[in-house]
Symmetry: C2
Subunit: 416 residues, 2 copies
Amino acid sequence: MEQYMEIIGQRAKEASKIMARLSQVDKNRGLLAAAEELRKKTDYILEENKKDVDAAIQSGMKQSLVDRLQLTKERIDAMAVGLEQIAGLEDPVGEVLSMKTRPNGLRIGKKRVPLGVIGIIYESRPNVTADAFGLCFKTGNATILRGGSDAIHSNKAVTVVIKDALCKLKLPQDAMILVEDTSREMVTEMMQLREYIDVLIPRGGAGLIANVVKNSSVPVIETGTGNCHVYVDDSADLNMAADIIENAKTQRMGVCNACESLLIHSAVAEKAMPVILRRLKEHQIEVRGDERVCAGASEVIPATEEDWGREYLDAMISVKIVDSLEEAIDHINRYNTGHSETIVTENYDHALKFLDEVDAAAVYVNASTRFTDGFEFGFGAEIGISTQKLHARGPMGLEALTTTKYIIFGNGQIRE
Amino acid sequence: MEQYMEIIGQRAKEASKIMARLSQVDKNRGLLAAAEELRKKTDYILEENKKDVDAAIQSGMKQSLVDRLQLTKERIDAMAVGLEQIAGLEDPVGEVLSMKTRPNGLRIGKKRVPLGVIGIIYESRPNVTADAFGLCFKTGNATILRGGSDAIHSNKAVTVVIKDALCKLKLPQDAMILVEDTSREMVTEMMQLREYIDVLIPRGGAGLIANVVKNSSVPVIETGTGNCHVYVDDSADLNMAADIIENAKTQRMGVCNACESLLIHSAVAEKAMPVILRRLKEHQIEVRGDERVCAGASEVIPATEEDWGREYLDAMISVKIVDSLEEAIDHINRYNTGHSETIVTENYDHALKFLDEVDAAAVYVNASTRFTDGFEFGFGAEIGISTQKLHARGPMGLEALTTTKYIIFGNGQIRE
């Protein structure tokens, strides 16, 4: 049994060597063929998906989770469209980012190349299977996909269909390997396959991510958790502030770039709070406030220390009144998860100080935190949002799936 | 006891916030003051170093290791010169790498910022203490230094002297914290301090690095091991090949960018081998060859499978005859450590194919592998040579000690 993951690792590593040499044309042909095949085999995928959905319902899975698991003709078409869009993006691989000539005549260039083998560990969304394959394939990487056991029939079906398309074009089928054994032991083994896997990207809930970060000896890119703040400065345009807060909190609540906590300068609290609370109430948002917030509004629940650090992903928000920009920055740097933070201000110095001193992947002036997203940033794709500082920070597009190597052109140079 | 590392982590984290805001001028003043103080306190540092050296000699330490441990007036001056050089380098922090305006008017920029807290785990060279401090300080990071127990008096002395200099300028002393408890437990705890340490860089032997890579939940940058190859193509200029091999193997043998293995195309082996073996013999290099190499030269020892993967760091080299460029590339990709690889060739296609297909941090045509070095690459400094693919690959200069954050300028944008 121990060999199962090892063999998968070896196969992916071999495939990655072929992938690294594939031309842009071949990679795009593969992506388009996979999209076509997904559309052709829609019925088969739906049949297989039904097995997962039926089992989920029988096991009493929550309706919202069953929804995530369920595929439809439209959702399968969306997967195909996703692959076509990826095919249309510029290929970052092969670009020489700089080339300098040293005094000794050595020409030293830095070239963008694939990472090699990328492991993705995710939960029950079958669309991740096609999406992760597409992003990794485009960037010349092989992928090992370990999805949740709930979605195993769906994932197998999507994988088989995509591999069929690759096979017809004589492209390496092992560019995409699904771990069909969905036991936890396989995840544990995958996290130790440093010899074969270059990076692991966990996509899913906080528990999954924490497990991978803690236990993997393969380098990990941490994605996801967002305890995002909006700070309303004493100089804020209060209408703009209300619009941004409403948007950041309510436009979509279960996502990592939604606002979870609100800081309001005491000088404008009296004027701003009623407007903001009314807007939040329209969306049935439960407000948990500090003492001063509670004193001003009877419907507010007292916040506990724990509330300041929570990512609710739900119709809840914590609100605190602060007496200065500095207090707001300190609070954010203490409780945030390094995701997205916004100041609403008309004060030039405050805007720059906030941008300079808040420690997060994306720091905004006068805009909703909801924009932290690969598509909104113009990357055309997104593999996740990194909340760590190494390698990639913030929304990760295709470039995050590449590394560089130095290429050096000499004519006999030796070191003195 | 468990609190000891935790407190160090907290102090470093606090200092990192101040460091991130320091101006280039203040950082350079700190570095120059530290350099001056090291020169002034040379006698004190030498006294403390003598304690380490005496203990090492008493414990029967190998002379070569005692040499590495021993400081002299010149070596302390070299530390000071190093800090002055770092002060003279351009500060990468604060640069906005790109700034684009999106269709909705959001201006999205990517700004270079410090990583935060950098942990360095190293062995018995006391000069690393000053050097690592300098590189981290210049880039606005706080550093936690955990040097070997053999050098503890020297490291303490260097740290005290540098902190004195920082203190006089009212710069944050906790920008540099030496872990004075050199027990192994402290290393174990340091590797779990994910909350406070942003990246760990192990500097030292293969055992140290493997331990950190395997056991750290803090992201690690793997440095060091180099099983570097020189491949002599069938079209090589054989004099150039001999010069490059001699240089790559013998110019300095105990370093990671030295050549450890030689591949020679069979078409030129008969002509090339005698010249190359003669050159290696002049430097008393022990040659371990495959069957064909052994058949042609009586002084060659038969290589075992293990030899192909070894980083000798010594007066030894493995030599293999291959029948094609492809065989050379396959061999290298199988046995190398992803460090530095060279082809000697006059063939244009072979040069490009080698550059494309060899998987390593630095791939050379017609030059010695010994050039893989931050100074030789023109970075002005080096924190180590990364052999992993994430974040930094190859020689790491100041930029490798930074990350980026997105700074977004809006005027009320909300997401539709």
